[in-house]
Amino acid sequence: MAETGNLSVPAARRSNGPGLWSNPVTWLRIAIIVGILAIWEATAASGLLYRDVVPSLLAIGRALAKLLSNPEYYWHLSVTAGEVGTGLVIGGLLGLTVGIAFGASKLLGKSFEPYLYYLGPTPKIIFFPIMIMWFGVGPGSKVAMGAISCFFPIALSAAAGMRQIDEVLIRVGRSFRASTSQMVMKIYLPAMRLPVVNGVRLGLGVAIIGTLLAETKLSNRGIGYLIIQAYSLFDMPSMYAMLIVLFIIAIGANALVGRIGRFDAIKQK
């Protein structure tokens, strides 16, 4: 839901050095994971918390297997993926257009960008009632939520990306007397690629959130609907299973888009 700032760990710190198994970091990680799982299982077995809030790992595992072997789940998944994808394309294209316009024209940027900048970090889900009135209770309003969510980070990154272009590179292009189209194709676009990719990465994250929250609020299909259904049936194991799959997909998609960015960063750094 939030798109301010960048919270990534520097690449250098990501690596754990040579020798995975001789590295104390690996062992500490395993210890932490095993510890958490043990506490979890003990809590589940003790029955201290109300029934099923902490189901046993076995139950979650079974629910996960059931979920992944259920063709209906994949249908819901494809519905949600379609909504997120459509929202990302619509919001992304709008965001890019607006961002490039704001980045290119000082006047436009100064006049309208403050509105985007301050509207960016507001809760988008509260617009859902309006989206329902405009686009109905079906997938249309979910697509709209995805589009609204990702519009802001993508527009702001594109505008910032255009402005962060190193001014000397523009002078280099001019000193070699590049034409306007050559300037755009060979200097502006490549120079703003990284911030745009980063904007898309942030946008994808918030589009997933916007779409799924809308599905949990009001819908009859999609992953969000399944999660809220599990809640109302109090089927905790399958809710955990669905959340696990969802987090893996979301973090994976984030990493995937991030990798496009990082591939460039490595080449450039």
Binding site: S8, V25, R29, P123, I125, I126, I130, L246, F247
Partner: protein
């Protein structure tokens, strides 16, 4: 004459964009008003802007938006306090124990980019439809940013400042309070600001989603009653509150970073 020309240019540089931006906004509302009145846009989908404006009074008096605001504020204050204390402490902890940091920093970063708000049904089961579901959702949303930025601020302290401290024979605790913490403070506040913004977004969002608590619930209520002008007015109000909060934290951040 030249000086006069430059001053004029200067004020133009400020006022032209503001006028254009604000003017476009006003023009937009006028256009919507006109389009609704001539029937191009259905007034059952978009209420008249004048109606929305009029609804502000009703929302404030009848729907007690201010007491709603207070509920949200209390939730935000509790969650914000928890985020600050727990987040900064965990950040210091990870800074002190490098092994722990190397094991878990990427996990914290993954949490920061994970869609944690989607866990709200789970929190609903654990904490029930209560204030605590909302507070805890705000807490988990804001926590990773504070941890990561605290860590970044502390470990980003310039080597030479640490050496200065050592050259004056500071004790470890002096080293921490006189050198590390002041040097890290601006970055820590960046983290706090991010964390608090994420928190506020999630708190209002979850209020709306679980139909409980302050401002978020009011939007849900009014929408369910099909009170269009009221819904729009409340949404504007919430946006305004978020924007004010955002500007306020931004001001504090600028004040903490003099000279930038």
């Amino acid at each position: 004459m030249n000086a006069a020309a430059t001053t004029r240019k200067f004020s133009e540089q400020r006022f032209l964009p503001f006028t254009l931006g604000f003017g476009a906004l006003v023009a937009f509302f006028v256009a919507v008003e006109v389009l609704i009145r001539i029937g191009v846009i259905s007034r059952y989908i978009v209420p008249l802007p004048t109606q929305i404006f009029a609804a502000f009074e009703r929302v404030i008096v009848e729907e007690e938006i201010l007491s709603r605001f207070r509920v949200t504020f209390v939730e935000a204050a509790i969650a914000g306090g928890m985020i600050s204390v727990v987040g900064i402490s965990l950040g210091i902890l990870l800074y002190r124990f490098d092994l722990l940091r190397r094991a878990t920093e990427t996990w914290v970063a993954a949490m920061a980019s994970a869609p944690t708000v989607l866990m709200y049904p789970l929190f609903l089961v654990i904490f029930g439809r209560s204030m605590w579901t909302i507070i805890m959702m705000g807490f988990v949303a804001g926590l990773p940013a504070v941890i990561l930025k605290t860590l970044e601020g502390l470990s980003g302290t310039r080597r030479v400042l640490i050496n200065v401290g050592r050259s004056f024979n500071l004790t470890p605790s002096q080293q921490f309070t006189k050198i590390l913490l002041p040097a890290a403070l601006p970055t820590i506040f960046v983290g706090l600001r991010l964390g608090l913004i994420f928190m506020l977004i999630n708190i209002v969002g979850v209020e709306f989603l679980i139909n409980f608590g302050g401002l978020g619930q009011l939007i849900n209520d009014l929408a369910e009653r099909y009170d269009l002008p009221g819904t729009y007015a409340t949404i504007f109000f919430v946006v305004l509150v978020s924007v004010c909060f955002f500007i306020f934290t931004e001001k504090v951040e600028r004040w903490l970073r003099p000279g930038t």
